[in-house]
Symmetry: D3
Subunit: 249 residues, 6 copies
Amino acid sequence: MRRRVLYIEPAVSQHVDSIKGYLSQFKGPETDLEVTCLTEGPRHLEYYSYGSLVVPKILKIIKEAEKENFDAAIIGCFYDPGLRESREIVEKLVVTAPAEASMHIAATLGQRFSIIMGRSKSIPLMRENVIKYGFQDHLASLLPIGMEVLDLQIDPEETKRRIVQAAEKAIEQDGAKVIILGCTHQFGFYKDLQDTLGVPVIDVALAAFHYAEFLVDLRNKHGWYFDKKTEYQSPPQEEIEAWNLSDLF
Amino acid sequence: MRRRVLYIEPAVSQHVDSIKGYLSQFKGPETDLEVTCLTEGPRHLEYYSYGSLVVPKILKIIKEAEKENFDAAIIGCFYDPGLRESREIVEKLVVTAPAEASMHIAATLGQRFSIIMGRSKSIPLMRENVIKYGFQDHLASLLPIGMEVLDLQIDPEETKRRIVQAAEKAIEQDGAKVIILGCTHQFGFYKDLQDTLGVPVIDVALAAFHYAEFLVDLRNKHGWYFDKKTEYQSPPQEEIEAWNLSDLF
Amino acid sequence: MRRRVLYIEPAVSQHVDSIKGYLSQFKGPETDLEVTCLTEGPRHLEYYSYGSLVVPKILKIIKEAEKENFDAAIIGCFYDPGLRESREIVEKLVVTAPAEASMHIAATLGQRFSIIMGRSKSIPLMRENVIKYGFQDHLASLLPIGMEVLDLQIDPEETKRRIVQAAEKAIEQDGAKVIILGCTHQFGFYKDLQDTLGVPVIDVALAAFHYAEFLVDLRNKHGWYFDKKTEYQSPPQEEIEAWNLSDLF
Amino acid sequence: MRRRVLYIEPAVSQHVDSIKGYLSQFKGPETDLEVTCLTEGPRHLEYYSYGSLVVPKILKIIKEAEKENFDAAIIGCFYDPGLRESREIVEKLVVTAPAEASMHIAATLGQRFSIIMGRSKSIPLMRENVIKYGFQDHLASLLPIGMEVLDLQIDPEETKRRIVQAAEKAIEQDGAKVIILGCTHQFGFYKDLQDTLGVPVIDVALAAFHYAEFLVDLRNKHGWYFDKKTEYQSPPQEEIEAWNLSDLF
Amino acid sequence: MRRRVLYIEPAVSQHVDSIKGYLSQFKGPETDLEVTCLTEGPRHLEYYSYGSLVVPKILKIIKEAEKENFDAAIIGCFYDPGLRESREIVEKLVVTAPAEASMHIAATLGQRFSIIMGRSKSIPLMRENVIKYGFQDHLASLLPIGMEVLDLQIDPEETKRRIVQAAEKAIEQDGAKVIILGCTHQFGFYKDLQDTLGVPVIDVALAAFHYAEFLVDLRNKHGWYFDKKTEYQSPPQEEIEAWNLSDLF
Amino acid sequence: MRRRVLYIEPAVSQHVDSIKGYLSQFKGPETDLEVTCLTEGPRHLEYYSYGSLVVPKILKIIKEAEKENFDAAIIGCFYDPGLRESREIVEKLVVTAPAEASMHIAATLGQRFSIIMGRSKSIPLMRENVIKYGFQDHLASLLPIGMEVLDLQIDPEETKRRIVQAAEKAIEQDGAKVIILGCTHQFGFYKDLQDTLGVPVIDVALAAFHYAEFLVDLRNKHGWYFDKKTEYQSPPQEEIEAWNLSDLF
């Protein structure tokens, strides 16, 4: 039974092809992968307001993905924008995202993890998500490396150098047993870092990709799916029509 | 020094006039109040996805309100949709919302509060907001009364009867010292309920309104305003222009 | 409707006039302010035992204030001594205090705050109050500057220099978004510090003063007042008389 | 090495002799016990304000006890009034109290405990103490039996009947493994209740008495005593004299 | 790349064949499954002491499994006995267990879950594991159905009837969005229950099985494996030999 | 009434005599002390797997100790291995251990404590125990000094020098008011350290020893003993016989 997975860059992105190539190396034999991005809007989501702009656009893509019989969609940003909204409007599509996926994995591999990110601006929202997902006791620290998201791939060696510096602080002083690279734009760095640091280093795009495959299998085999009875109950079709929301739903 | 306050019904609403009349009874002598609502979109926000649809529309109104020299804007829904996004895009406008305001007040009046809402669908998001605002230890219980938001004002006596029943459970069994009416559509009921129950009953639209006046005074007198240095730092104008986000900002 | 507010220095104080002048600059047009202090007892409350000595004296002043038809009383010390005891013995007087007021304000302006105080002796009680009021998740750090309370106003420039040093540590390393000056004797410093630091800096005497005005308005307009049903239920008059406690009550 | 222990009824009490007889049955061979009470003031401490009135009187007794070379003093009320203030003004006297002592014991005997008390008025302060002492995760429930403190010994069978009813609820529904009788006026009931219920039932006066003996031994043998370096640092003698606080200290 | 998985019944068990048949229906195309059990010792682990007896036996099996080039081992009991000990003594074998696996899955599918178990004796250890894994905020309730572990499969209809009763209480009163069947001996029931209840019902043996497959893929593809640097560092070979522990390791 | 106490070194140990001599200096006049250790197995428990190997051996000693009418047994390792298992298999023997005992004492003497240990390998299990016992809010920090357990007594001056260095960091930066020497192999150091540091320094072997005496007295005088009704309910004799577990029990 094949799994059709859609990875959504929830911003205008130049990385669609590279992400596709990157993830495809690691996909299971039964997985088909497509990658898409937004055609207009912000190019990163480092501001709350940018994040809110893209959620309606993400929902359109999600709705379309369900119609096209995708099995899973990944919202490819570590803030997990629109995750619960997406789960609400679908009936069988699995939706997941990098922060959720990587924290579940990291908490399994060691007692505490640190998240390394570009700028300190991100800390309040990341901390909030850590708490929202219930991983507060697993959090060792949140460490910024003083770089803009869009600059992370410009000089990979410099980026890696700064991540190593932050990660060593996390491991030695904060008690981190696992490092999470808290931005999908840090993709591709984890292997080298893992060799250097000697602890698991989680690439969050990969984490979300494999978590999506895992959740699809659970759904297919056991019917384990998001609680549609109350928490993710879909809005009623009559309201959507009566209020002309159908453009979206 | 006058305070110009804009109350936003963040949905298509038929209550603009009644809300305006209702709040105006209680405004301070230096306060000017206007009430507005969305012109298209959902009529309530009982679904995550509805909530995300209205945030970009709220941001437009917020941006406009700042240009028109309002001092404060209230996002009039107990889910506080778009609160932090709004604070990010403004430079001097005070923005607040009912859940934040009423929890601060309730936690001052007694050790623990219960929140009474229409449907159990709302519980996960409300619990999340309680935790996000840090009031977890003050929460006695979250109690639904089995009514749709849009039905709360249809038969006020029935609504009040159900609220009393839930509130008595909250006070006697859950240890609530204060009752929060967890939906702006429960406006107008608190006085009667307070007389019946003998404990403070918070009308969340009024709570937000007075909290807005309070925060404006703090800003005007002392420059106490949201942290614009990192947490609510505004997105850079160059990005907004380069990426054609100016429709919104 | 005028608001009559009594600010109590809950110790023998030489700052009654300067506090009155200081707060009066910022009072609302409908507010009348009086300031008083103890006539005997300790001059600061840096010891638990000093704090307990003054509570009965505070209660006398509170009782008197209610008889004289004040609307609000502020217990002007960041330890909030006698706050709940005072709320218990009054029937309509609003009572508030600096720690409560400033933490509500700070938690509204940013995700986390740091409290800067004179000596490390104060930390256990301050931490306890942070937890008691439910702001544990909002606490970034508690930072002493190595000065006695009574010395804070002697060389204001030195005091400010040390506060800036501590606050910069709080902002850069501990993730503070808001600074609370955790002693009423730091009054008058916040504006300069705010300009220097670029984040909100809360003067706790001012915070309590405005919170008192706010709570009076809520009481006057909506009857929102401390839970007198159980938590702040007053002791019975018969007991007070039978046991000769009337000197106090 | 003998241990001289002073049990203080921190209110005007008619139970001095019966408490002395009661505790004496259980004292160690090296323990001398005296019991005292206040000579004026309230007869119970069910109100915050009553509690604050007696603390200065407790401190006088504590200071005197240290001068008379007592080894330990117990502040015999489950609210533990004046506990930390007392520890601050002494140099070698051990001071403990029923809530602290009984929670340490209960948390050792089973995962979670319930506290049974007279009236629901007590719940907020008891919950606060549970949190202050760090036993929040061990708390199964706080259950009132609808009786005034001074009535608990009037009809012991009725009191025990109500306690059994509450305790059975605690054990069966709330998951309590240990029952704490949350008022020193419930003294003498625990044995019968323990036989009936089949789980440990803690008499809090006895708990405090034995904890005092235990802490004296730790002090005598190892010098383990309250942190006098910062947390319980005593106020300076010069201040006490200069400010005429010597009546107390 | 095939995955060889060993499922260990960590007790003397008559269910080896039925578990193997049951799990095999759901295994991935690349998975080979073997099931084993203990040859002597207890038949269930409802007592702490039984649990401790089997851990050394589990470690032997684990060590053997690594030598035989299994990719993963599952310790098939909801108490997850010996989980961290096992991870410590292996170098590349993935080890997981039902409680860990099912809580990660349940927390992904809905905000809060309830765990349904045989007897209330199990509650303290289950609560402790919930906290240890960091899922405290996701726990709605722990509900026993009054049955011995070895009786759960005797009259499946009666067992299911009791589970439904407990689960309905969990969903309606405790706010559970997902039900975890907190014993591997409840295997086979989840599908019917899921149909009846309308929310996800997690079979914990299946959860562990799929989590094992997932973790093997993460290890194989990315080298993401338990932190062997400090937390799960293996004991040194010299010590094992010098102290004659080699029977085990 | 005499108290017979058995101190168990839960590993192969060369310190049996020195521990006996050390503890005997401090025993009460009614206490008889014996010290034993394992005859085969590991010499320290710095690995999870070592810890699990010794628990069945500890249980045998515990069972024997109950038969020989000891009043208390102490499991002399700061990880408290087998503590709850032991409590389950006994009917009247008091069992305690160093981590439990020392944290109760430390939390009584000051608001927060730091634990100083040999290696960072120990931190995850120690943190877990702190949380399990409910002392999370009392924990200031966990600080390793970079030494193997078996080396702690080799050069006592060097060990003490490193402890002082860590403790000063704990006191000045982390806010510790009490220091716990988190390994029984640090025995004998506390007095000097206490003199140097000026805060209470807890020797955890002594803490456990006195806590055992204390718990025996509570059992003898009041019948306060571990909850045998559910949490520590003993396994049924029929099962033990039927399954040939009698070698152990």
